[in-house]
Amino acid sequence: MDLTSKHYDMKHKTIYRSLFLFGILASASILFQFCKPKGPAEVATGNAASQAYVAPGKYDEFYNFVSGGFNGQMNVYGLPSGRLFRIIPVFSEDPTSGYGFSEETKPMLNTSHGYVPWDDLHHPALSTTNGEHDGRWVFGNANNTPRVARIDLKTFRTAEIIELPNSGGNHSSPFITENTEYVVAGTRFSVPMGDKTDVPISTYKENFKGTISFISVGKEDGKMKIAFQIKTPGVNFDLARAGKGPSHGWFFFSCYNTEQAYTLLEVNSTQKDKDFIMAVNWKKAEEYLAAGKGEKAKAKYVHNWYDEKTHTATSEMLNEVMQLDPAVLKDMVYFIPCPKSPHGCDTDPTGEYIVGSGKLAALIPVFSFTKIQQAIANKEFEGDFGGIPVIKYEAALHGEVKKPGLGPLHTEFDANGNAYTSFFVSSEIVKWNVKSLEVLDRVPTYYSIGHLCVPGGPTRKPHGKYVIAYNKITKDRYLSTGPELTQSAQLYDISGDKMKLILDFPTTGEPHYAEAIPASLVMPNSVKIFRIEDNNHPYVAKGESKTNVVRKGNQVHISMTAIRSHLTPDNIEGVKLGDEVYFHVTNLEQDWDVPHGFAIKGANNAELLIMPGETQTLKWKPLTTGVFPFYCTDFCSALHQEMQGYIRVSPANSNVPIKFSTGKTEAPAGAAGSK
């Protein structure tokens, strides 16, 4: 036993030692209980396996967009099968596709801090129209270097990334309003901002502020722009949900660390019995903005977007952002007390109820939008926090779910008025009725659930059918893989009164949060190929006759094509040591699911994976003279292994001319070298 007490006296040491044998007996009896054999009562009833089984060649009913957490990507699974279809690169480089390595995609990862090759993606948010999933885009947040990404569900590719100034950890993001008017981004860390950023950390209360960014989303093209930021007192923002139906026009954010601690938060930010839900009337914010009440603040942030015609990303640096101060602009922001470091802050499908989940609490408060409005009208405030009114807890409260479990984290809903809340500390999902607040059922998860997901669960019309648990710990659940283990998802059937575990599958990265959407809303829009006629890449070769090798100073630009089963050109000479070589490879195929890859020996970046009709560029700087092989990396045809070529690199002072060809054989040249 590891005894840490410095003042541990002899008497107690003796107690522990002498009674150790008894302990063994006690442990044996307890363990007997723990590992009792699995009887019929402990085995799931019914045909669990067949419920999750999707026969070969059949489709899943739902897409499940699962964040990759610390892999920085978005993972696409099918439900109910749990099959992994794709990992979409978003905030992290992906050597498999060349995302972040190809010249075209590098700008996607630009920030005001330079090129950032990794991030931590926590929350997917599917776009909605009238509060229902519309299948157009899925958004994701970068937690570390604050950004929001938009993924186009026609291509399943990252189409746009916008950085967030005045933010320090974009966790409370990217939740969206009913018609995707806005994507929000609340900062986890409050930070000093404006002209005064070099300040002692101990001046948190005075100098540190939070921000909530409202990013507008173009109705047709989805283009993102920071419409405004709301400046808040220094706290940590955690999660958020938009109002729906009657509460449309409002947004609710959970905040913790209202103690305004800046060190040892595990103790210092958990002092108060209650933190806050912050309610924002964003329609009011729009009014203030229209009335010119916003203040332009200097801020440096980057906006990147990908053009599907030029197959190229562009970065722009932006220099200012509009800010609104709720301490001055009244009736826009209110705080509602919420027990103990709330994490989840979830509005039910009717838009009337807001469920707070104090992650260190053993109760779930449910707030009523109607009562919040009445409390505001009647000025039922208990005081203010940073100049923002704090509504009386009881005045906003619909009721509390008493003792539902330990550590409520996040809640989603079915279409029948029920809520499903994940409990990290007690590792379970609890089903309860939103109106009656009565606990209806509970199931364990294996182990330590974070978020959960019901298909359509955060929308006005949940599809129900399943709840999926995303677990942080798997320990003994799968074949072991050393100290580093997979995290997991668990699928429960919720069509009956009782939740029933039907599938358990490993995931990639950290499955932090997920949303699920019927396949019928996404699959019909999926792009099969990029039309070669529409390719406006500056170095596209729309046919083998258009291929080219051009020297521009010490840059050599090769416009190359790939088609089953050769690269054109496949013999290239005239490159000199010190040159930068750009392979601009156009995939000439116009056939579904026939990508070509490109790799060259010694490349310091990655491969390219080029979709039909697309052009992508790999930069290569040879370090020695010689002849270097390159080849197609994607098994494309029976002659894939023949799809290869050579490039010759000569000394810097050589006079080997630029020469390129495919299928041309010549008599051996007299001179072997250039000298």
Binding site: H12, A26, C35, V267, T270, D273, A362, V425, S426, Y447
Partner: protein, 182 residues
């Protein structure tokens, strides 16, 4: 060292032969586990439950935790600060109190008392300050005092402190009773 080697042996006896992975793979039904308390792992540091289970002076507490179905929760990641009254501490309660609490119909009351002994978070001895309050899982506060290096909890003496994998256990000489509800 000898005593340590006994434990795996007992575990093996207790659980019978460990199943080979292949044996389960053909089973069509989902096999629910019992939570992390059933994970077979004799390598890792003990969690707060196993600390209690391995302490002969905490058999009453362990019985209470089992009765309240708290064993799994406290085997999870936590982290927890657990105030663990000894058997003697339970014995100090009025006669019949423990027996009453262990009755199925009093499960909520038992849970409330046990939750009053658990804080979510790790408070090490070094972090304890005189007069510090902690809001426990049952949402009531306890008060820690520290005088001349000696820690008390709502007046109960801390007899020893045991570090666990998922938190810390303070062995105390009295059962903490939640304040009466108004």
């Amino acid at each position: 060292m000898k005593r340590l080697s006994i434990i795996p042996l007992l575990l093996l006896l207790a659980c019978g032969q460990q199943q080979a992975p292949g044996n389960e793979s053909s089973v069509a039904e989902a096999a629910p586990g019992a939570g992390q308390s059933a994970v077979q792992d004799e390598t890792s540091e003990r969690d707060v439950v196993r600390v209690a289970v391995n302490s002969p002076v905490h058999t009453t507490l362990v019985t209470a935790l089992k009765t309240a179905e708290y064993v799994d929760a406290l085997s999870n990641a936590g982290p927890f600060t657990v105030f663990a009254p000894t058997n003697e501490a339970f014995d100090k309660l009025p006669a019949g109190t423990v027996e009453n609490l262990l009755k199925p119909e009093n499960k909520d009351a038992l849970r409330n008392i046990l939750e009053y002994h658990v804080y979510v978070g790790v408070i090490t001895e070094a972090m304890v300050q005189d007069g510090m309050t902690l809001n426990q899982v049952n949402l009531d506060n306890i008060t820690l005092n520290k005088k001349d290096g000696k820690i008390t909890v709502n007046g109960a003496n801390v007899l020893g402190v045991v570090k666990a994998s998922n938190g810390v256990v303070y062995v105390i000489d009295a059962v903490l009773l939640p304040p009466e509800k108004k």
